[in-house]
């Protein structure tokens, strides 16, 4: 299914050494992920992922590739240590995930806590995601804006020391 397709794209992505192909594959991956999100009823998130994850991220990566070399060097040592470390982490995580509630279980705690109140349309906005984002959890959004501002300031500070180098594409983040 869709999730298997996502997994295959990631496998190819890990093995390809041409960085341009990696960037294109990560764009494909983002669009597939947006489709998965639509299937999970997260339409707002899917829209953001398609616009930001597949759009702006790809532009940023291509901009960075333009300034760097686009071929990855051959790995010098065998990747046994990272591979075994990741696999061990994976086994632990799957063991932990088996204790989580079943997929789409309506009795799971996540559906019982604050969400019934959110769905009562207290703030008169039919799109609940917007209502929670802007009203119930407005401070989160303020913090997010702060992070984005700080990152933008950091990018400008990092890239403006040499005038002839063009780093304009990174400044948009």
């Amino acid at each position: 299914m869709l999730l298997v397709l996502v997994a295959i794209v990631v496998l190819v992505l890990a093995s390809v050494r041409n960085l341009f192909a990696v960037v294109v594959l990560s764009g494909i991956y983002s669009f597939l992920m947006a489709t998965v999100m639509v299937a999970l009823d997260a339409v707002d998130v899917a829209m953001t992922e398609a616009a930001v994850g597949a759009g702006i991220s790809t532009v940023l990566l291509l901009g960075a590739l333009h300034l760097c070399k686009s071929e990855e060097a051959k790995p010098t040592h065998r990747p046994w240590l990272p591979l075994s470390l990741s696999l061990a982490t994976g086994v632990l995580l799957i063991y932990g995930a088996m204790g989580l509630p079943d997929f789409a279980d309506p009795q799971a705690p996540i559906h019982q806590h604050v969400v019934p109140r959110y769905l009562q349309n207290e703030v008169q906005v039919p799109n609940v995601v917007t209502a929670v984002l802007a009203s119930f959890r407005g401070y989160d959004t303020l913090g997010e804006t702060t992070v984005v501002f700080t990152a933008g300031a950091g990018v400008i500070a990092l890239l403006r020391r040499r005038k002839p180098r063009k780093g304009g594409e990174e400044g948009r983040g």
Partner: protein
């Protein structure tokens, strides 16, 4: 097993991202791996919020069952923050490339090592 399928895919994406971050020396590849890791976290949050037979959480009189809106809000924030950190990481990579002429981790470490050795030799000659 099948009711935990989404978790298994999430864990697979997570360890794939982790593996790319640890095993690959190229800084841009590392950042792509980091964003795969991030996306697996999005999936981890969104999958439990889904209800079978539910619709997207936009209130309408014709529907009664909605998927959980709270993870959507949290992940909306996470995506934007993720892109901000990606931009910052890429800016760092570009700066490193300007100074060292490469974005391969091994070569950068070798250059650092050579610089340190040269400094030590210079001090010995002065002494």
């Amino acid at each position: 097993m099948i009711e935990h399928f989404s978790y298994i895919v999430t864990v697979f994406l997570m360890i794939a991202g982790l593996y790319i971050v640890i095993a690959r020396g190229n800084l841009i590849k590392k950042l792509v791996g980091l964003s795969i890791f991030q996306t697996s976290v999005y999936l981890l949050y969104l999958a439990p919020g889904k209800l079978l037979g539910g619709t997207a959480p936009i209130l309408a009189p014709a529907y009664g069952v909605y998927s959980n809106p709270l993870p959507h809000v949290l992940i909306l924030t996470a995506i934007v923050v993720g892109v901000a950190t990606l931009a910052l990481g890429l800016a760092l990579a570009v700066r490193i490339r300007e100074v060292y002429g490469t974005i391969e981790e091994d070569e950068i470490l070798a250059l650092d090592h050579r610089i340190e050795e040269a400094e030590e030799q210079g001090e010995e000659r002065r002494a």
